[in-house]
C-alpha cells in the first residue's frame, strides 16, 4: 500500500508515492536523487543523515517520509545561494573541517540548527550540539573551529547588510 505525498524540500515541492515505511532519507536519496544527505548507519547512530525540518536538526533515517509532509525540509543542497556558500560551508572549507567529507553534510546541518538558535555559541555549546554527529577523520577540532568561525562570519555578514 502506497501513499501519495508532497514534500517541500529546499523550497521546491515534490509529489511522490511512497510506502508508509519509507524513511525521509530513503526518499531524499533514492527518489528525489538529493544524495547530499548521507546514510552512515540507518539507525540513528551517526548523524550523517541530519536535515532540517522547520529549522530543527532531525535524523532523516529515523523520520518517515509521510511524517515530513507539509513541513519545510532543508538539506545540504539547499544551503548555498548559487555560488555563494552558506557561512558554515565556507567556514568548513577555510578551517579544514572536512576530510573525507562523508560526515560533513550532517555536521553542517547540525551546525546550521545551532547557529539559528545560538548565534554566539561557546566551544562547549558546539561540542554538545554536534554530540550526535560522528566523524572518524578529523578528531573534531577543526569542526569546532569552523562552527565558531561561521558564527563570526554570520555576524559580520549581518552587520554588512544595510
Amino acid at each position: 500500500m502506497k501513499t501519495a505525498i508532497t514534500l517541500r524540500v529546499n523550497g521546491d515541492a515534490y509529489d511522490v508515492v511512497v510506502p508508509p515505511q519509507r524513511t525521509l532519507l530513503e526518499v531524499l536519496r533514492d527518489k528525489l536523487l538529493l544524495t547530499g544527505s548521507k546514510q552512515g548507519c540507518d539507525k540513528g547512530d551517526c548523524g550523517c543523515c541530519t536535515v532540517l525540518i522547520d529549522g530543527e536538526a532531525v535524523l532523516s533515517c529515523l523520520t518517515l517520509a509521510v511524517e515530513a509532509q507539509e513541513r519545510d525540509i532543508t538539506t545540504i543542497e539547499g544551503l548555498a545561494d548559487g555560488d555563494v556558500l552558506h557561512p558554515l560551508q565556507e567556514a568548513f572549507i577555510r578551517a579544514w573541517a572536512t576530510q573525507c567529507g562523508f560526515c560533513t553534510p550532517g555536521m553542517i546541518m547540525s551546525g546550521v540548527a545551532l547557529l539559528e538558535k545560538n548565534p554566539t555559541p561557546s566551544l562547549d555549546d558546539v561540542r554538545r550540539a554536534l554530540g550526535s554527529n560522528l566523524c572518524r577523520c578529523t578528531g573534531y577540532v577543526k569542526i569546532f573551529d569552523a562552527v565558531i568561525l561561521a558564527a563570526q562570519m554570520q555576524r559580520e555578514r549581518a552587520a554588512a547588510q544595510p
Binding site: 536519496r29 533514492d30 536523487l33 538529493l34 544524495t35 547530499g36 544527505s37 548521507k38 546514510q39 552512515g40 548507519c41 540507518d42 539507525k43 547512530d45 551517526c46 550523517c48 538539506t75 545540504i76 543542497e77 544551503l79 548555498a80 556558500l85 558554515l88 560551508q89 565556507e90 568548513f92 572549507i93 577555510r94 578551517a95 579544514w96 573541517a97 572536512t98 576530510q99 573525507c100 567529507g101 562523508f102 560526515c103 560533513t104 553534510p105 553542517i108 558546539v126 561540542r127 554538545r128 554536534l130 554530540g131 550526535s132 554527529n133 560522528l134 566523524c135 572518524r136 577523520c137 578529523t138 578528531g139 573534531y140 577540532v141 577543526k142 569542526i143 569546532f144
Partner: protein, 776 residues
C-alpha cells in the same frame, strides 16, 4: 616574504566545495539508468561445510534478475600476494567465518533482493571452530585451511646482530607481555560497490585507496585484460587502511553485472561493512629489552602473535611492518623479531592505521617506559638517549635520511610541562605520559612502488595535472595541486587535477603506507619540474637570457631580480604552439628502495625498506575517576616531523584525526565476541570518540626538510596515532600507579585494576586502591 608562493600556506582544500555542498559523489550516490540492486547471503556459521545451495525459489521471485554462487567461479582464488591466494571469490565448499559470502542476488529493487535471500536454501554441516590465537595454535586444533594444519598462515624470523650476546652485556633486562583486541575501522561511509560490464569492459566504482590495485585484482580474478577494467575516480568516505583490498562484494557485483549486462550496485549495511570488509588484527606481544644502567638499549627480542581471522589478507605485512617501525624508533644493534599470523574463525583482519605497527608500538613504548622506571631513569631521557638520528644506518641496513625525532620529543616534553608534572599529581588521580614513534613513507611494491604524472597546458595559461594520486580525505589532492602550482609558478586556481582513474591517469602506488605525500605528490612535482624546464627554455629564448636566471610566480616568468623583464606563461604557450612545439610535462618519482626486501621471506629483511621515515611524539595528561573507572584526557601535546608542512592546517587536521583514532584504541574501542559472533557491530555499541571525548590539542609541526621529499615533505601524522596510545597508558599509570598490559583501558578494566583483579605487568594488581591517598 616566504620563499614560496603556495607551499606552506593554508590553501583551501581542493575538493572542499564539492564536499560542503553535497555535490561530491560517493559510490552509494550513483544511480545509473537500468541499475539493479544486489544483496548478499552470508554464512551464519563460523566454520561449516556447504552441503548444497539451491537458488531456484529466489530466482522465481518476481523482480529478481540474477543470482551468483561460488561454484560458477570454482578454482579462482584471490589474495593480496600471489603466494597468499587463499579465498574463493565466493565461498564454495566451506565457510570460515560468520558473514562470509555465499550467494549474490540482484533485483530491480533492494527490498526484492533482500526478500530473495530468504528464499535461498543452503544446507550446512557445522565444523568445530577456533576463535582465539591460543585456540587456533593448540595441538590438534581444527585447521581452517588444509595447507596450514597449525593455523599459522605466515611467519617471520629475523635477527640483526647477536641478541644473546647483547642480553649478556645488559645491566638490566625486562620482559612484558601485552595484548590488543580486534578493532573496526568504522569509516563513516559504509562499503558500497557499483559495477557495470558493457561491451567486454568492466567499469567499477567503489571506495578505495588505489584504483590500480583494485583493477589488478579484478582483472586477475575475472580473466580480463588490465585495460578492460576501468576503475573510476569516486570519493571515498574514509579508509584508514580498510579500503585497500578487493572484497568479495566487488566480485559479486562484477559477476552479477556480467550475468545481467546491467549496472549492479551493492551497498553494505553498517554491520556488514564492519564484519565483512576488514578489521584490525588482535595481537599478543612479548617484548624483552636489555639495557645499560644509563638506559642505552643493547638487545631486544619481540615475539608477536597476530589473530587474523579466516583469510590471509595483508597478514605478512601486519607482522612484517612493525619490524621496520621498531628498528627505526629506538636504536638497538641487536634485535630479534618473531611474528606469527594465525588463522581463526573470525572476520578477516588486514590493514588499519599503522597496520601491526600500532599494536607493536604500544608494547614497545610501554616496555621501554617500565625499563626506565626499573633503572630510575626519566621517561623522556631514556627515549632521547635511544632516539635514532638523521644519517643513521639501521640494523637492517635501511638508512634514515631526515629525522626530527629528538626535536619532537624535546618539544612535547617542554610544551606540555611533562617534567614538572610527572609523578606529582597522583593525589589528584592525574598523570602524564609520553610516547614517540617512527613511520615509513611507502614500501616495496615492485614496479608499482613509484608514482607518475603528466602536466598539460591550456591556451589561457592554466594547466591540467594527471596523477594517480589517491585521496581518501587526507588532503593529498590539495598537496599535489599546491606543489604543482608552486613549481609551475601558477596560482592554485589555474591548476586542475585529474586523479585516481585507471583509464585517465598514470600509475600510482595508492595511499597505502603513508606514501602519498612522499611518493605521489613527488611524482606530480617531477612532472611539474619537467614542464617548468620546457617553459623556461622557451621563455629564455624570448627574453634572451639563461633559463637558470628565471623565476615563475603568479603566471608570469621573469628574470630573477628584474621583474620588468618578463613574459606571461600564457604567452609562452601560445608561442610554442604557433611554432609547432609541444609542452607536456611528465615525470615519475620512484623511491630508492631495496626491491628485493620482503616482509617475511627468510633472510630478506635487509636493505632500504622505505624512501623516508617520519617521526612524532605525544604527551598526554589524564584524570582517572576512581569511582567510575573513567579516564578523561585533559590535554594533548603532539609533535610530528613531517619534513615540510606543505599546508599547516591540513597537517594539523591529520594530527587531530590520528589522535582521536589513537585515543579510541587506548580507551574505548574493541570488538566484543561470543565465539565467532560479534556483539557490537554498530556505531552505537562499538563506541569511538565523539565530540565529547576529544580533548584540546596542541599541535607542533617539526620540519626536518627531507632531501628526497617534494619541497622536503614527508608523511603527515601517522606517528602521532601510534604514540598517543602508549602516552595515554603511561599517563594512566602515572595517575593511579597501575601499569596496564591490555588494551583498551575501559572503565571496567580500570575498576578491576583498582580492586586488584586485573592482570597488569603480567601479574594481578594488589592494593592499588590503598594508595589512593598516598602523597607523591
Amino acid at each position: 616574504m616566504s620563499e614560496f608562493a603556495v607551499v606552506g600556506t593554508n590553501a583551501r582544500k581542493y575538493d572542499g566545495v564539492e564536499k560542503v555542498t553535497g555535490a561530491g559523489k560517493y559510490t552509494a550516490d550513483l544511480n545509473p539508468p537500468g541499475m539493479l540492486l544486489g544483496r548478499i547471503l552470508r554464512s551464519p556459521h563460523p566454520h561449516a561445510r556447504i552441503v548444497c545451495i539451491d537458488v531456484s525459489r529466489a530466482l522465481a521471485l518476481p523482480g529478481v534478475k540474477v543470482c551468483v554462487t561460488g561454484a560458477e567461479y570454482a578454482g579462482m582464488k584471490f589474495g593480496v600476494f600471489p603466494s597468499t591466494r587463499d579465498q574463493s571469490l565466493i565461498a564454495i565448499d566451506k565457510v570460515r567465518y560468520v558473514g562470509e559470502e555465499v550467494v549474490g542476488v540482484a533485483a530491480f529493487d533492494e527490498d526484492t533482493a533482500e526478500e530473495a535471500l530468504d528464499l535461498i536454501d543452503v544446507e550446512y554441516e557445522p565444523l568445530p571452530a577456533v576463535f582465539t590465537i591460543d585456540e587456533a595454535m593448540k595441538e590438534g586444533a581444527p585447521a581452517l585451511h588444509e595447507a596450514f594444519p597449525n593455523n599459522v598462515g605466515a611467519e617471520l624470523h629475523t635477527e640483526y646482530g647477536d641478541v644473546e650476546a647483547g642480553f649478556r652485556r645488559a645491566d638490566h633486562v625486562r620482559q612484558d607481555t601485552f595484548t590488543t583486541t580486534a578493532l573496526a575501522h568504522c569509516q563513516m561511509e559504509p562499503y558500497a560497490v557499483l559495477c557495470h560490464y558493457q561491451n567486454g569492459r568492466l567499469n567499477v566504482w567503489a571506495p578505495n585507496t588505489s584504483v590500480f590495485a583494485r583493477r589488478r585484482a579484478l582483472s586477475n580474478a575475472l580473466g580480463l585484460e588490465l585495460n578492460q577494467v576501468h576503475v573510476h575516480k569516486i570519493y571515498t568516505g574514509g579508509a584508514f587502511g580498510g579500503r585497500s583490498e578487493t572484497f568479495p562484494a566487488d566480485w559479486i557485483a562484477a559477476m552479477l553485472s556480467m550475468k545481467s549486462n546491467r549496472p549492479v550496485k551493492i551497498g553494505l549495511s553498517r554491520e556488514e561493512s564492519i564484519m565483512t570488509t576488514r578489521q584490525k588484527h588482535e595481537m599478543r606481544i612479548t617484548v624483552k629489552s636489555g639495557a645499560k644502567k644509563d638506559g642505552t638499549l643493547v638487545a631486544r627480542h619481540f615475539q608477536v602473535w597476530a589473530g587474523g581471522g579466516a583469510y590471509m589478507s595483508t597478514g605478512p605485512i601486519a607482522i612484517g611492518w612493525p619490524l621496520a617501525m621498531i628498528e627505526s624508533t629506538f636504536r638497538c644493534p641487536n634485535l630479534k623479531y618473531e611474528g606469527y599470523r594465525v588463522y581463526t574463525n573470525r572476520p578477516i583482519c588486514g590493514a588499519m592505521r599503522g597496520h601491526g605497527g600500532q599494536q607493536l608500538h604500544f608494547a614497545d613504548s610501554c616496555n621501554l617506559e617500565r625499563l626506565a622506571q626499573d633503572l630510575g631513569l626519566d621517561a623522556v631521557d631514556i627515549r632521547l638517549r635511544n632516539a635514532v638520528q638523521a644519517g643513521e644506518v639501521l640494523p637492517s641496513g635501511s638508512k634514515i635520511t631526515s629525522c626530527g625525532l629528538t626535536e619532537t620529543l624535546q618539544r612535547v616534553a617542554e610544551e606540555s610541562g611533562f617534567r614538572n608534572k610527572v609523578g606529582r599529581q597522583r593525589h589528584l588521580s592525574r598523570g602524564v605520559g609520553i610516547g614517540c614513534s617512527s613511520m615509513i613513507n611507502g614500501f616495496n611494491m615492485g614496479a608499482r612502488s613509484g608514482s607518475q604524472a603528466y602536466v598539460k597546458f591550456n591556451e589561457d595559461g592554466s594547466a591540467t595535472v594527471f596523477s594517480g594520486i589517491n585521496d581518501t580525505g587526507q588532503g593529498n589532492e590539495t598537496a599535489a595541486v599546491q606543489v604543482a602550482a608552486e613549481e609551475l609558478g601558477l596560482p592554485m586556481e589555474k591548476i586542475r587535477l585529474v586523479s585516481s582513474d585507471t583509464d585517465l591517469t598514470p600509475q600510482d602506488p595508492g595511499s597505502y603506507s603513508m606514501s602519498s605525500t612522499f611518493i605521489s605528490v613527488n611524482g606530480v612535482y617531477q612532472a611539474a619540474a619537467d614542464a617548468r624546464r620546457q617553459l623556461f627554455k622557451l621563455a629564455a629564448e624570448h627574453l634572451e637570457c639563461n633559463p637558470e636566471d628565471l623565476v615563475a610566480r603568479n603566471g608570469v616568468i621573469s628574470v630573477q631580480g628584474s621583474p620588468g623583464t618578463s613574459v606571461a606563461i600564457e604567452k609562452v604557450i601560445w608561442r610554442a604552439w604557433q611554432r609547432g612545439k609541444e609542452i607536456v610535462g611528465s615525470g615519475i618519482y620512484m623511491p630508492k628502495l631495496n626491491l628485493k626486501r620482503d616482509w617475511i621471506a627468510p633472510g630478506m629483511q635487509t636493505g632500504q625498506v622505505t624512501g623516508a621515515y617520519s617521526f612524532g611524539a605525544v604527551a598526554v595528561e589524564v584524570e582517572v575517576n576512581r569511582d567510575t573507572g573513567e579516564v578523561t584526557i585533559l590535554d594533548i601535546t603532539a609533535a610530528h616531523d613531517l619534513g615540510r608542512a606543505l599546508n599547516p592546517k591540513a597537517a594539523e587536521g591529520q594530527l587531530e584525526g590520528f589522535l582521536a583514532f589513537g585515543i579510541g584504541q587506548a580507551l574505548y574501542e574493541g570488538l566484543v565476541w561470543d565465539g565467532g559472533m560479534n556483539l557490537n557491530p554498530t556505531l552505537l555499541d562499538y563506541k569511538y570518540p565523539t565530540t565529547q571525548e576529544m580533548p584540546p590539542v596542541k599541535s607542533i609541526l617539526v620540519e626536518s626538510i627531507d632531501p628526497e621529499g617534494p619541497f622536503g615533505a614527508k608523511e603527515a601524522a601517522e606517528t602521532i596515532g601510534l604514540a598517543v596510545i602508549s602516552a595515554t597508558v603511561n599517563a594512566v599509570a602515572d595517575a593511579i600507579g597501575v601499569q596496564f598490559n591490555d588494551l583498551p583501558l575501559t572503565p571496567a578494566r580500570i575498576l578491576r585494576a583498582l580492586e586488584g583483579k586485573e592482570r597488569v605487568n603480567g601479574a594481578k594488581t594488589n592494593g592499588a586502591r590503598k594508595k589512593r591517598n598516598a602523597s607523591p
